[in-house]
Each structure stands twice: as structure tokens, then as C-alpha cells.
Amino acid sequence: MIFSVQNRISEWLAGLGRITLLAREAIASAFTLKFGRRDLLYQIYFIGIKSQSVVLVTGAFTGMVLAAQTYYQFHKVKMDTATLAVVSVSMCSELGPVLTALMVAGRVGASMAAEIGTMRVTEQIDALRTLATHPIDYLVVPRLLASNIALPLLTVEAMAMGIAASYFVGVHLLGIEPVYAWWNMLKYSHDSDVLIGLIKSFIYGGIIALIGCYKGMTCGVGAQGVGRATTEAVVYASITVLISNFFLTLTLEKIAVILNL
């Protein structure tokens, strides 16, 4: 029992170490510009453009339900016009980046793990190596950079969509006074909220791509190995995003206060 727990802990730590080494190698490779520009553009298209619908729907409905729930609570203390301010701050610094990352982890992280995992079990990664191509240069770096670029852009879309949808629900369905609601929203939303959201989404982009690629490159043999790698990529990326969100919020809010943003 004790040995089993010890084994799991040491296995987990070894995995963490390997992901760190992968990240280091990928970042070093990114600076040497050995990756293909066409591959980078394709990955930006795949991660950014193709994820838009799911991110926009998520942003819209999260904004709407947040507006409705906030309104029902605030209405009791006659603070109806603060509804949009709550939605805006939440969407920009927390819900926008986190929900976008979770949706992209489900869609893109799984796809990365499955694609690279299949390449591994069919010896395509070995073929890359025999063709004097480093798998990290060819497979990981374009996905990592594309994810870092696409996630903040998708997050901005989710933020804007959430706020727009909450305005529609608040003003047209719940009858909030639009001028005061809008004014309050601008008053209580700061540049730092948007900036924190963007920094978070940049980091989440890296987490999703690294975990997806790592799980694909280390997947077990056969269809079962690929299936397991795909599931683990989504689960681990989602959990890492949620856990790191807490620490990022504490750290970034502190920095924002220190810098007086």
C-alpha cells in the first residue's frame, strides 16, 4: 500500500519533470525558429478559427446566466445597475480565460494527444527522426506557439460575447436601466482585469499544448494507449488550468495592486 502510493508519487513527479524538460526544449527550439511557418499558420487556424463557435457559445451563455443570477440577487438590495459590472469583471479576469481554456482543452488538447499518439504508435514519429527532424521542432513548437497566440484571442472573443449577451439579457429581458448599468460597468472594470485575463489565457494556451503533446508523445501502445492518452490530456489540462487559475489570480492581482494598474 505504502509502496503503491510512493510509486504513484514518484511517477507523478517524474512526469512533471518530463513535461518541464519538454517545455524547456520547446521554448529553446521556438527561439531558434526551426519550426515550419506553414505548420504554425495551420495550427493557428485549427486552434483559433475552428474553436470560435464553441468559445462564442460558451461566452454568450455564461454571460447571460451570470447576468440573470446576479440580477436576481442584486435586485433584492436594489443594486440592479451593478449587474453588468459584476459580469464584466468576472468575464474578463476569471470566467472568460478559464472557460475558454476548458473548452479548448476539450477540443484541441484531445486532438493533439490523439494525433501525436497515433503518429507514435504507427512509427511516424520515428520516421520523422530518421528524416533528421526533431519531433519537438516539427510537432510541439507549432502547436505550443499557435496555442499561445490563439487562446488570448479566443478569450477576448469570449469576454466580448459574454458582456454583450449579458447586456442583452439585463437590459431587454430583465429591464435594467441601460445607461446606469453601462456606466457602472465601465467604472468598476479596469484595464488590469482584461490584462490579467489575457496573461492567464496565454499561460493556459501553453498548458493545454504542452500536456496534449506530452501525452501524445508518451502514449502507450495500440488503440487503447491512444484513447487513454487522449482522455488524460483533457483531464490533466483541465485540472491544471483550474488549479493554476487560483494561484494566478492571487499572484496577478497582487502584482496589479503593486503596479497600481
Partner: protein, 254 residues
Amino acid sequence: MIEVRNLQKSFGAQKVLNDVSFRIETGESVAIIGRSGGGKSVLLKHIIGLLQPDAGEVFIDGENIGPLNERQLLRVRRKFGMVFQGAALFDSMTVAENVAFGLRRHENLTEAEIARRVAGALEMVDLSGTENKNPAELSGGMRKRAGLARAIIYEPQIVLYDEPTTGLDPIVSDSIDKLMMRVRDTLQVTTVVVTHDMRTARRVGQRVLMLHDKKIYATGAPQAFFESPDPIVRQFVDGIADAKDLLDAKINLP
């Protein structure tokens, strides 16, 4: 020149290679034969640095590749072309993109020059006109040919074949054998073929190495090797599962 010295490799508790040593001269063509699961492919992957040995050394043109990291190995691997057992074509690319892969990555050529070289490589493997097909549309033999075209397009010094005729019918196997001989003779490359197909070993190899019981058990020119009276060699060459049957086969010989 390829030289393997005292190579040892285990996967977990299972030892696959134990003290394997041999040398392949530049331009030589060698067939490595042995039973399925006997470590032939593992040995081949050590030669190109896809696997790291537990002990022993692999020298390519006098350079020990053991201490090299993955990025340093890329330089050594440019001397190689490798044809995989399942072809390992990139399934997200067309045949032409697969074949052009090495050129696009490592040489600064115009699209017209790349297209010309791809057409030349495909013609050499009798696959002209398949440029725009996807690997999934090709038969097993065609996939092997496309894999060979991809391996030879940048004119490597050494070509490695991992079970090139496994899973193919005798007629397609014959065409692959002829293709390997054509590549060997036209490009003057060092050839290493891992196979358990005796006909391929006999035709393509100028020398045969037999891997048995985790070691190089026998070696020799094809003619002498296939006429060897050694019982282990005979059992494998004649394809007899039980040593007792070997005796019966000898008795029943005309």
C-alpha cells in the same frame, strides 16, 4: 561504415540483445535474419540512434553515436534513409508531400526543383502518377515503395530496411526485392535489410548475419550461408519449427 561493438539491450527484465558485435563496410549490402521477436528491428533502430543501448557502442563512419543527444543525432541521421515495416508514411500528407519531406526540411530548393526530384524518386520506385494520392489510398506494396522514395530522395549513404517484404504477396515481394537491388546498385549505398524472408536475404544481401539467442550466431556470403550444415542455421533457413523434424527432413531428402 557501420560498426557495432558489444551491444546490449533489455526491455524491463527481458534481454533482447546480448554482446552483439559486427561491422558493415561502406557500400556493402547486408541482410540480418533471425526469428520474429528476436531483436532484429531493435538492432536496426540502434544503428540509426532511435534506441539507446544499455551497454556497447555503435560507430557510424568512425563516430560513436552513443554519447550524442537527440539534436546532435540529427546530423548523423542525414546519412541514413530508413524504410519502416509499416512504411510509416505521414497520413496527413499526400505521397508527394511525404517524399518531399526531407528536401523541404533540409534543403533550400525551389518548388519546381522539389517537384522534379519527387517525380524522379517516384519514378525510381515505379510509383509515377501517385503524387496527389493519400497514403490510405495505396496498397501495402505501394506504401513500401513510397516509403523507399522518401528515404532515398536526399541520396543518403546508408539505407536501412525493416522487414521490407513482410505482409506482401510473393509477386509484390519480388518487385520490392528488385527495387532494393536497383537502389543498391544505382545509388551505391550501404544497405542493411532486416528480414525473415530467405529469398530477400539471398538476393539483396552480399553478406548474411544471423541473429540467434540475442547474439550474432552466424555470418557469411549468401551462397555459403544457405548451404551451411549448422543445425540452428538449417532449422531457420528450412523453416522447421521442431529440431526433431529437422532430422526427419534430412532423412526424407531425395
